[in-house]
């Protein structure tokens, strides 16, 4: 076991929180209460929670268009997240960002990104900043299998490697990039093989096994904190929902989706492990789900009751020195 009971139960609770947050978001989107479009990470909780369970509040994370889970796992406030999704003035970004653009710089979340792979060059800057400031922080960037084929990924991994930056490149290979299968867009079986092109350690793990993710991440973080340089971590997982809510998904067989949902659910799998190791009981588990739901209801309530921003607020906050 890579953690004490308290940590493990906290991780479980966080996974449940991510799952329920995404489920809630899907429902409110379907109900027309969340504008724009949203991308859910249901089925990928092993990655977000396994990775972030190894981080300190002062460590940095850059995330993606599918970033709700990463944010929650890094400690973001549910109320302000839901409020942002609803476009309310009390949201993280005062309603300016929405689902694809949430950040919380107070806990090192450098932001979601609407540009695929947009976080990688940026995380290099965070890593360089850490090195120049001589702290022992680490910087983590999440990106997808689809993102991994964009040029900035290459530039960022190369730069991180020649400078031994304290960065962990976490590619969440959920098999799909929108309508495009990972196997079509790239000729590699394991994306961690890309690490070799930068003389960087690369590891592929079962991303739906939160403890496997955590184990690999702990080693990567240790390396980074010691100044030994970056690591690439591939979490093999699956995108259970459509690319965006409302995706017709003509491109894949729902049977494939169901198998993953039923046979390889990271939350359920972790629950089984905890139960087996007698760290969790059905009763305790239910209590956790109930507590999470209660917390989420409160967040949704907060968002609903919050006002929309005033139209003119659109003109605020563009420049720090106006």
């Amino acid at each position: 076991m890579t953690a004490d009971k308290k940590t493990l139960l906290a991780m479980y609770r966080t996974m449940v929180t991510v799952r329920q947050f995404e489920t809630m978001a899907g429902e409110y989107f379907a109900a027309g209460q969340i504008p724009g479009f949203i991308h859910l990470s249901i089925g990928q909780e092993g990655s977000s929670v396994g990775v972030c369970s190894c981080l300190r509040p002062d460590d940095y994370v850059a995330t993606t268009h599918r970033g709700h889970g990463h944010m929650i796992a890094k400690g973001a406030d549910l109320k302000r997240m839901v409020a942002e999704l609803f476009g309310k003035a009390t949201g993280y970004c005062k309603g300016k960002g929405g689902s694809m653009h949430i950040a919380d710089f107070s806990i090192g979340i450098l932001g979601a990104n609407g540009v695929v792979a947009g976080g990688l060059p940026l995380i290099c800057g965070a890593g360089l900043s850490i090195k120049l400031r001589k702290t022992d922080q680490v910087a983590v960037v999440f990106f997808g299998d689809g993102a991994s084929n964009r040029g900035p990924v290459h530039e960022a991994m190369n730069m991180a490697s020649i400078w031994d930056l304290p960065i962990i490149f976490v590619v969440e290979n959920n098999q799909w990039a929108s309508t495009t299968p990972q196997s079509y867009a790239c000729a590699l079986g394991d994306l961690c093989q890309r690490a070799g092109a930068y003389n960087m350690p690369g590891v592929s793990v079962d991303g739906n096994d939160v403890l496997a993710v955590r184990q690999a991440m702990l080693e990567a973080v240790a390396r980074a904190r010691k100044g030994e340089g970056p690591t690439m971590l591939e979490n093999k997982t699956y995108r259970v929902r459509g690319h965006f809510e409302g995706d017709p998904q003509k491109y894949r067989d729902q049977a494939e989706v169901l198998t993953w949902q039923e046979k390889n659910d990271p939350v359920a799998r972790f629950a089984q492990v905890l139960v087996k190791d007698q760290l969790l009981t059905q009763k305790k588990s239910k209590a956790i789900w109930d507590a999470v739901n209660t917390e989420l209801d409160a967040a949704v309530q907060f968002a609903k009751e919050s006002p929309f921003p005033k139209p003119e607020e659109a003109l605020e906050g563009l420049y720090a020195n106006a």
Binding site: P35, G87, A89, K96, G97, V115, T179, Y251, F308, L318
Partner: protein, 327 residues
């Protein structure tokens, strides 16, 4: 041949279908094209009709644009789909330093028949990185042509012209207008030559110069103004480069007043170029300054009340017209 009513999206697909049937060297390259006939369904029917000629790519905008350039230089007539116009930033070198300059740099040795299809515009609550209108960058890049259709018929006629053109053409089509329907001629040879504006509503009091989504704002505003006895002429520019200055000038010689309307943000937008040319070339014709109606100078915010506030509205056009008419 009689017109049909169809959506801008269907008009695009029909135009592409006709051209691809006519010329086997045409193909479409981009992300997520085959599964749903483009992420907006804009290529409906094409993946089935032209197997192997609608090609899905990895997420690699630089290389997608570059593939368009390389294929155009070697005998093909590629159309590249940029997914969202916001991502031209990821292929900017291939578009502006390669596609735009290659023919000229190499002394005119080659032609580069490339169409870059960019779905653009705001209003979908898609926030700052999925809502931009960036045509002005390319108007400022010698070597590129720039087309921004508004109505369904323009989409079809201009796409066919862009495909047949031997130069790189940036083709911006507004995401919010895909479903908007309009009359489209059935004639398969219906083509709208690049560089021809259209006077789509006659009027004697003021010229509304616009393109893309701005056109519909102008129509609504003209309606409003009509009630108050102000007859606005609506000129749909359709092509920003080459620009049909003759049609613009003719309208202004009649109305002596002009308001320019576009969705791109105000500062440095295409309206600046047009206003600068009008006042320089038609100074003595103007009875009032040329005013611009455009989005406010901020990134597009997510929350509906703010996004609506930032985007230009018919009321803004009405206001600008009154400002130029009541003096």
């Amino acid at each position: 041949m009689s017109d049909r009513i169809m959506s801008a999206s269907a008009a695009l697909a029909e135009g592409l279908h006709e051209e691809m049937s006519r010329d086997p060297s045409i193909f479409i390259l981009g992300e997520d094209l085959t599964a749903h006939a483009g992420i907006f369904g804009q290529f409906k029917g094409l993946p089935e009709a032209f197997p192997g000629r609608i090609i899905d790519t990895p997420i690699s905008e630089s290389c997608i644009a570059g593939c368009g350039v390389g294929a155009a230089l070697t005998g093909m007539r590629p159309i590249v789909d940029f997914h969202f116009s916001d991502f031209v930033t990821c292929g900017m070198d291939e578009l502006c330093n390669q596609a735009a300059k290659i023919r000229y740099m190499f002394g005119g040795q080659v032609k580069l028949p490339l169409v870059v299809w960019c779905p653009d515009g705001a209003g979908l609550r898609a926030a700052a990185q999925h809502s931009q209108s960036l045509e002005a960058w390319f108007v400022h890049t010698p070597g590129l042509k720039v087309v921004v259709p508004s109505e369904a018929a323009d989409v079809k006629g201009l796409m066919k012209a862009a495909i047949r053109d031997d130069d790189p053409v940036m083709f911006f089509q507004h995401k919010r207008l895909f479903r908007r329907e309009g009359h489209v001629p059935a004639d398969p040879e219906f083509i709208i030559p690049l560089g021809r504006a259209a006077v789509k509503r006659e009027g004697k009091d003021v010229s509304l110069l616009t393109y893309g989504s701005g056109f519909f704002l102008c129509l609504d505003a003209a309606q409003e103004l009509g009630k108050e006895g102000i007859e606005a002429e609506v000129v749909d520019l359709r092509t920003l480069k080459p620009l049909d200055m003759d049609t613009v000038a003719a309208s202004i010689r009649k109305t002596h007043r002009a308001v320019i309307v576009h969705e791109a943000c105000l500062t440095g937008g295409f309206g600046a170029e047009l206003a600068a040319r009008i006042q320089a070339e038609l100074f003595d014709e103007l009875d009032a300054p040329v005013l611009r109606v455009a989005a406010k100078d901020v990134p597009i915010p997510f929350s509906p009340p703010m996004e609506d506030f930032v985007l230009p509205k018919p009321a803004d056009v009405v206001g600008a017209v009154k400002a130029v008419c009541y003096r």
